[in-house]
Symmetry: C2
Amino acid sequence: MAKLTSRAEDYSKWYNELVVKADLAENSGVRGCMVIKPYGYAIWEKMRDEMDRKFKETGHQNAYFPIFIPKSYFEAEEQNAEGFAKECAVVTHYRLKADPDNPKKLIVDPDAKLEEELIVRPTSEAIIWSTYKNWIQSYRDLPILINQWANVVRWEMRTRLFLRTTEFLWQEGHTAHATKTEAIEETEQMLDIYAEFAEKFMAIPVIRGIKTASERFAGADETYCIEALMQDGKALQAGTSHFLGQNFSKAFDVKFTNNEGKIEYPWATSWGTSTRLMGALIMTHSDDQGLVLPPTLAPIQVVIVPIFKGEEQLKQIDEVAIRIQDKLKASGISVKYDNRTEYKPGWKFAEYELKGVPVRVAIGARDLENGTVEIARRDNLSKETQPLENVEKYIEDLLNTIQRDIYKKALDFRDSHITQVESYEEFKKVLEEKGGFIAAHWDGTPEEEEQIKNETKATIRCIPLNNVMEDGVSMVSGKPSAQRVIFAKAY
Amino acid sequence: MAKLTSRAEDYSKWYNELVVKADLAENSGVRGCMVIKPYGYAIWEKMRDEMDRKFKETGHQNAYFPIFIPKSYFEAEEQNAEGFAKECAVVTHYRLKADPDNPKKLIVDPDAKLEEELIVRPTSEAIIWSTYKNWIQSYRDLPILINQWANVVRWEMRTRLFLRTTEFLWQEGHTAHATKTEAIEETEQMLDIYAEFAEKFMAIPVIRGIKTASERFAGADETYCIEALMQDGKALQAGTSHFLGQNFSKAFDVKFTNNEGKIEYPWATSWGTSTRLMGALIMTHSDDQGLVLPPTLAPIQVVIVPIFKGEEQLKQIDEVAIRIQDKLKASGISVKYDNRTEYKPGWKFAEYELKGVPVRVAIGARDLENGTVEIARRDNLSKETQPLENVEKYIEDLLNTIQRDIYKKALDFRDSHITQVESYEEFKKVLEEKGGFIAAHWDGTPEEEEQIKNETKATIRCIPLNNVMEDGVSMVSGKPSAQRVIFAKAY
């Protein structure tokens, strides 16, 4: 197996190689669409299950809406159309037929043209709010708290595995409420759920904030987000929660009778996370040896590798290994005992390092004699010899320790990469030399934001929630500013 | 709430009404596409989770492949193209733009025409085998045991909720094997898994069999199926498992080196079940009052309804009800205590009957005095008074009894609707007057099959596995036949 390109050498190349070599995903024959391979999908399933559990705990239900959206639905909500209709897959026909000039070939049947084109959903507000129109008449029908796990398609010109693909998997929550207050509370609740999921489950520290108007979701009154920092100093938006106001209820003419008998438009939210989180996971924790996975997300949490000469020795090791495996499994830990004889221990070590298995247990002849095993941590690559007795408890604790340590490491990195700057010069210097989040004053205008973006490629990632108010002046225009905002280059 | 049309009056209307009134699904604004509502989706989730568990237990892994398939991929496997390319959603463009003549409208951007059209997957053999080409080089790479949960699109002219929709949800397994024997074993194993799932989990008895050549999946060498019988005497194909031979490996030029160093084409299977199973579930168990759900699939297994006058009484009942609820929940039973005051008990009874909640517990003032509760079974609508003491254990046992009884009832119905006939006259008479499965001799030719289909609308559902060999003569042509096959009209 050829070595991975190192991160220092070429971060982008390291990422692309790692995704493929660790069997997470690969490009398909369809432009911009990926194949999520079993190992990658198993990680995504763990993310999905945990989020799904949190959604249900907070009263949400899953449902499923059509993949196709008639073109005219996009015309209903102007901003949304503006934001999404430009880059979408358009279904215009519903039949192929044999090519009369070349019977082995197929052509689009011109007689099977749709009266109205269908768009493969880039997001589902339009189709869902056109459905909610029939579901919502009275305040008794509210709130509606629905989530959907689905595939969506956005016609991206430049794609990268997980980070930006034409088709991706995601969840999209779509809720309807009787009051503005309740909708805003929902928006904030879902942001909190995302943040807690990112930090506790994925071990990725995030900044919770609000987007500026120009970075807002098309059709939202306010977009909340969680922003993570990758190892190369670039930010990655890991989830968004939108307060949609009454934009979609008005666009689709959804009304309800409130508890005083008056007709009102309901208030909406939508919120989403996607397979992009896989990219965040990889670029937060992994190293030059391969993936580093938090134990919560590892399809295999512990691998046991025998180091043996001859069948007799292997048999003896088998006995010990299988006992450990059974005990760990009984505690709900996923374990693989790899006693394949066609691969050498060294090859296996490299393979499981590449795949990010958090704990490796090696057992050799010497260990058998001494009643020990060798335990290696994937996150810091440390090794130690442990007595066989109670080793299962030791491993269980170690998995918790690794989860904490991985988060702590990412948090330290993130915190040491939030830099306050006072001038545009300093801003550019930090951006170029150090990267990371930059906390700076901004005059609040989209014009200045645009200028900074054009000149430096940095965008305002968010205005942090619970921000410290601090009088200052914008680093570019010199106009007064009441708080710092967070800039960064971003994925 | 208006009453359901009865099954006797109009079975088809009863079905359509029930799906909508029980909040399972509804038609969307997109032709032939349905919205699966939260209650319906919760049932589908239970099916999915149980099947997923069984797939993983037998060594399968999930993955995800692109929704789009380039047109040329369909040209590779002739039969498959023939079978599916005719009815599909074709993506021809990747952008909309503002209509210059009417800025509020959108039009397809003629400059954004795709060089090669993309088909929204009707099934994924083509895209998956084009991917396997890169995954399979050696016998060590085999078997590949992959499943995918996904949405697929087939352009159906006449659609019905769950039974036949343009878009539907399904799982599709796609495996590759080094030997023919192993692939056939896989095909049969998956059929067994489907059959066991249908019978044990969905309480739907099925006949396992093999399709005739004309009913075979396009691209398969052999199609295995499970066939269920609906209450109106029509059959429903509930799952299929295909032995694909080397058709797809040859079409996509996938080869491997076997353990003797020779180059071979791998052997393939594919197998699928879909949201169509929701239709089978409804039409196997439900009645004129609404849904009947086996406890395994019920989102709410037990509902507790208080019958009270005044707040004081409700408070007393609350106490008892919540105690029962907590104990049942602790045993993993899903319970809803519906103490809403804005709905009358009678309304609630009808509502939960419609929704198919297997067990209803009613608690009134008299019950409080006597230390009893009233327990009603949804499946046979029987009621009885039970002492409060140990009622949780009683309910837990009752759920198991209901699961068994529902299956038994469906099995008795099915078994009493398998009719052996000896002549074509008798065949037509049974088909018209009784319906159900008809076991008859057939001469083995597609011509006779076609003739019977044209004249009676009945098709050969399957040649049962482990069929009893019995010499006879075809009821139409009079030619010799070695075994009976199963005919029926089908969904």
